[in-house]
């Protein structure tokens, strides 16, 4: 069964460093998303991406964040200068028209 894969599963970084979280969406999907879940809190929408551009973003997705689809298979989330409060589980998702399929997540720990 096709699945969304995310790497790494756990990323530890120092405050102020840049991180890139990587995702390989399901191959025939056209819509891509990033969500995050701070420990003990709700899953929060960050951004959606379609046709090589951002289609929607939340207030969380500020200038520190960027997304890119550098080739036909990868979808990345970059955080330019990490803060302690960026520590969370980051989920990538992809969808056809209806159902969003989620990856297992990357746990980001900012020290």
């Amino acid at each position: 069964e096709p699945e969304v894969t995310q790497t790494p599963s756990h990323q530890v970084t120092q405050m102020g460093q840049e991180v890139i979280l990587r995702c390989v969406p399901i191959s025939n999907h056209l819509y891509f998303y990033w969500y995050r879940q701070i420990l003990g809190q709700k899953v929060e929408f960050l951004v959606s991406f379609y046709n090589n551009e951002i289609s929607e973003k939340s207030e969380i997705f500020d200038d520190q964040f960027s997304v890119e689809r550098p080739d036909g298979s990868n979808f990345t989330l970059k955080i330019r200068s990490t803060k302690l409060e960026d520590s969370a589980m980051y989920f990538c998702a992809s969808s056809d028209l209806n159902i969003q399929y989620f990856g297992a997540g990357t746990r980001l720990s900012v020290l």
Partner: protein, 113 residues
Amino acid sequence: SQQGEEDPQALSIQEGENATMNCSYKTSINNLQWYRQNSGRGLVHLILIRSNEREKHSGRLRVTLDTSKKSSSLLITASRAADTASYFCATGDAYYGNNRLAFGKGNQVVVIP
């Protein structure tokens, strides 16, 4: 903005019993979806119900939607130990599911063998 909100309860049941959890939301929606998350894992889609539907079944799952009360329920019948997980509702404002989802806090369900 839309927001799914589950009843904040942890549910502990015996295997074979039914588990029911509820979700309420604040604004009008076009679809409501339920997801399962096993500890430390990703979100697994369970079922989608549209705003013009009242009830939907999928295997041992039954979802209802009451748009007048802005609420939904998820029933898992004949629960199994493997159903132990957190269950989230998520709302979307488009007919299709390819838009931002607003998740609730989740219900912890423990099924005791």
